[in-house]
């Protein structure tokens, strides 16, 4: 009766992994016959910052995840180049009928970098470690991902999604959940849920997080001894030079890394990263600014465009200005914005106008939503109908930041500002530094209109919609409108629906209502981030989740 999607995956087994790697190989395309690539060499990859720590469980920053993706693996991995869940350290899995018990068959013969065997016991050790987090580590600043995904801890202060993990034999575990959620098991593909060596975790006091002053201090494990099963091993972190060195794991269970050494080097300034590549100091870097794409390609570098897995929106706060609680006014705003023009002028090739609050690769996406094609006249008419010709609102935009969905906030703000002023809305622009008041003010509901977006973590609608609207006390202030609670309820119901078809229907309905009835924000665009590598680099597969693995990468001299 119940058809659960992951069961399909279970059929794939070991061979799937092999096929997948083969896919990854062929996807890079242009190096054709040179299959496998050259072994050896060192690759230096420029990143925007140095990792904060190396234990992905406590991490929230991109540079840490970028490194941990090479050192660690989870039970589930995302298929290279997609956001689809695929076998990782678990060869297969299946759920019970009620979706509450998940049985994972683990890969055999896998060893952690310190020689510890990866088995059912080690896997449950990790689950229990997460669940039993105590003390300072319970802060949302440390274990934010656990709290987003699994809720509370073993102390029971807040309900948890996780119930237990049991090793049923040496290589099989049963993970029990307290309720069904559409997010599971896909969330296990997040780098946060990487499998770490129990021996090393204990030896280096991995759980010993301390709060000190207004920040947190992490134990030796997290700063110097990350131990996983991945294709690369942690070699050293040269703080003075901002570079992390990884070396090939000779005992890797799968396709061994081709590079001898992989170096992630922090170059915070984007222009400096580009020049370092041009001068040959580095072999590639993350997130080249869209304005540089063409010149990088012209110089013969390989620009790898990731599939867009994000959304950029103009938020409409329901809290302060009563006129914004009138659907007509929100629709007027939607009609007033020339989204097509904005995508053309401001966003890189591959960017798309957003019709839903998440990209079309995610479950439950539908094109049967109400369209708001650029129509200033209609916008004016709607404002007049609502008696809001004199609408005056503040409009927040961030400085000192670029995000993959928002490569140039100043220009994008200027564009939308022009659109809205054209239909007679009076705007009071407020600009604040991203980390110097912008996020804070927006979260506190001070903004009437604001620019923000979201980078997807994994392929479920709840990762987008749930984060935005599941709690009516959100930055859109939907709780101030009568439909805010309804929307939250609908989202929770959809997330806990076990049946795939029913759930799809529910999400499609929510998407339609979001555009036609609620409209707490105007989705603007999905914009693809990119990576760039030198001509002699091959085998890197761009991922929509920006979690590329470098074991397939080779570099020719």
């Amino acid at each position: 009766m119940v058809h659960i999607r992951p069961v399909r995956m279970a059929a794939l087994g070991i061979s799937a992994a092999l096929v997948l790697t083969a896919c990854a190989e062929s996807e890079r395309g242009d190096d054709g016959g040179d299959s496998g690539g050259q072994t050896g060499g060192t690759m230096t990859f420029g990143t925007e910052g140095a990792p904060k720590l190396f234990d992905p469980f406590y991490a929230t920053d991109g540079p840490t995840f970028r490194t941990s993706q090479q050192i660690f693996e989870g039970l589930i991995e995302f298929k290279p180049g997609t956001a689809e869940a695929a076998p990782g350290l678990a060869e297969s899995w299946e759920a019970s009928e009620d979706g509450l018990t998940w049985t994972f068959k683990l890969r055999e013969g896998v060893k952690f970098h310190d020689g510890t065997e990866f088995n059912a016991e080690a896997a449950c050790f990790n689950f229990e470690r997460w669940y039993n987090t105590s003390g300072a580590a319970q802060s949302p600043a440390v274990t934010g991902y656990w709290q987003d995904n699994f809720g509370g801890f073993s102390d029971g202060k807040t309900p948890s999604l996780y119930e237990s993990c049991t090793a049923t034999d040496a290589n099989t575990i049963d993970v029990k959940l307290t309720r069904y959620t559409s997010k599971f098991p896909d969330i296990l593909g997040l780098p946060s849920w990487s499998m770490q060596s129990p021996t090393a975790l204990e030896k280096y006091n991995a759980n010993d997080v301390k709060q000190q002053g207004d920040s947190f201090v992490f134990p030796e494990y997290a700063t110097a001894h990350p131990t996983g099963t991945g294709p690369f091993k942690f070699e050293r972190y040269d703080k003075a030079n901002g570079s992390v060195e990884l070396v090939r794991n000779e005992d890797y269970w799968g396709e061994k890394a081709k590079l001898d050494k992989l170096i992630f080097r922090a170059i915070p300034d984007e222009t400096a990263r580009k020049q370092a590549l041009e001068a040959g100091d580095i072999d590639g870097y993350d997130l080249p600014g869209p304005a540089d794409w063409q010149s990088l390609k012209d110089q013969g570098f390989q620009l790898l465009i990731r599939p867009a897995f994000n959304v950029f929106y103009v938020g409409i706060g329901q809290k302060n200005v009563p006129q914004l609680r009138d659907l007509k006014v929100r629709q007027a705003i939607a009609y007033a914005i020339d989204r097509e023009g904005l995508v053309q002028q401001m966003l890189p090739e591959g960017a798309k106008v957003a019709e839903n609050f998440y990209p079309d690769t995610v479950f439950g996406w539908t094109d049967e939503v109400q369209q708001y094609d650029y129509d200033p006249e209609k916008a004016k008419q709607l404002l007049a109908d609502a008696g809001a010709q004199n609408l005056t609102v503040n409009f927040y935009w961030p400085t000192e930041v670029t995000r993959p969905y928002m490569p140039d906030p100043r220009a994008m703000f200027g564009f939308i500002q022009g659109n809205l002023e054209e239909v007679g809305i009076t705007l009071k622009p407020v600009s604040k530094p991203w980390n110097g008041g912008y996020l804070e003010d927006v979260d506190l509901g001070k903004a009437d209109l604001f620019l923000l977006g979201w980078n997807g973590d994994y392929n479920t609608p709840d990762n987008f919609l749930g984060n935005f609207f599941s709690d009516p006390q959100n930055r859109f202030g939907t709780g101030n409108s009568p439909w805010g609670q309804t929307l939250a309820n609908e989202l929770r119901a959809a997330d806990s629906e076990v049946d795939d078809d029913k759930r799809r229907q529910m999400y499609e309905d929510i998407n339609k209502k979001l555009k036609a009835e609620y409209l707490p924000a105007v989705p603007i665009s999905h914009s693809p981030p990119a990576l760039v590598v030198a001509e002699n680099v091959s085998g890197l597969v761009a991922s929509p989740l920006t979690d590329e693995k470098f074991n397939t990468v080779s570099i020719s001299s």
Partner: protein
């Protein structure tokens, strides 16, 4: 006590000297200046800049805030409007006429320089006069504070102040740049007041029963003007450069509709690879103008310095 301090004190001492020597020093200075090519070169630049700023509304062909070439812009595809008919320098990052922005930008740039100098001077005047005229513990406290401010390098101070405002505007930028100059003016004015306190004409005025306030404003201040003018020309240049540096560090005025050279240069950094002219033009303007003010100021200083020979 730093090099800046020394320079300021030396400058302040000149007041006393020029005062005792009377008009002849000024006249001699002017005679020297008229024949000094460095001064003339600097002055010519400054005059040209001020005239440009005043006439720019009539010189600019287009509205510098209008994105008239917006349809030729694609940030994502690295396209900005090239030079074309009616737009000899093409457009900027969002399609506004670059030449018009450079022309009109001279106004804001001049304003940044002048306002920063004025604010710096006014605050410095209040502090310096208080310290110099009252003396005693007021003097000690004010001068200690001034010493602390002087001990932090100028740009660093400006950047610190700039960063302390939650959301920067053109005014906070000017304020940040101006605050750097406050201690310099304060020290300068105090030094010059002290030097005059025991000079003949002040003593004479006091003997005649002239009120303290009148002595300060009618006699002491006007006599300090020479060094103040010298310092102001130098400060103008520094302010314009510091404002550009703030913008480069991302602490400038985020609203870029009204053009200003420093902000234009600071914002062009992300395009410097592919469209270097967006940076070169405002940079060239800033360099020329700053050089003009600096040359003028330095040669004024030298001319007023009785130690300089020839």
């Amino acid at each position: 006590m730093s090099t800046r301090t020394d320079k300021i004190d030396a400058l302040a001492e000149q007041t006393a000297r020029s005062d005792s020597a009377g008009v002849s020093v000024a006249a001699a200075a002017w005679r020297r200046l008229r024949r000094n090519p460095v001064f003339l070169f600097g002055a010519a630049i400054v005059v040209a800049f001020v005239v440009l700023a005043l006439l720019s509304p009539w010189l600019a062909q287009h509205d510098p805030t209008e994105r008239m070439l917006g349809d030729q812009v694609s940030r994502a595809r690295d396209q900005i409007p090239p030079p074309q008919e009616g737009h000899p320098l093409g457009g900027d990052q969002v399609g506004r006429d670059l030449l018009s922005r450079l022309l009109i930008g001279s106004q804001q740039t001049l304003m940044v320089g002048v306002l920063a100098t004025l604010i710096g001077f006014t605050c410095g005047l209040v502090l310096g006069t208080l310290a110099g005229a009252i003396g005693g513990w007021v003097d000690t406290v004010v001068m200690r504070a001034v010493d602390v401010m002087l001990s932090i390098p100028g740009l660093l101070l400006a950047v610190s102040i700039g960063a302390l405002f939650a959301s920067p505007t053109q005014f906070t930028v000017i304020l940040a740049v101006a605050m750097v100059q406050v201690p310099i003016f304060a020290r300068l004015l105090r030094g010059s007041m002290l030097a005059q306190r025991h000079s003949d004409h002040v003593l004479a005025a006091r003997a005649l029963g002239v009120k303290q306030r009148a002595i300060v404003f009618r006699h002491m201040l006007p006599n300090s003007l020479g060094p103040v003018i010298v310092q102001s020309t130098l400060v103008l240049a520094i302010s314009i450069i510091d404002a550009a540096a703030l913008s480069f560090l991302g602490l400038g005025n985020p609203d870029d509709r009204i053009p200003e050279w420093g902000a234009m240069l600071g914002q062009a950094q992300s395009d410097i690879d592919s469209h270097p002219h967006l940076a070169y033009w405002p940079a060239a303007c800033i360099i020329v103008v700053a050089l003009g003010f600096t040359l003028m100021g330095e040669s004024l200083r030298e001319a007023l310095d009785p130690k300089s020979r020839r």
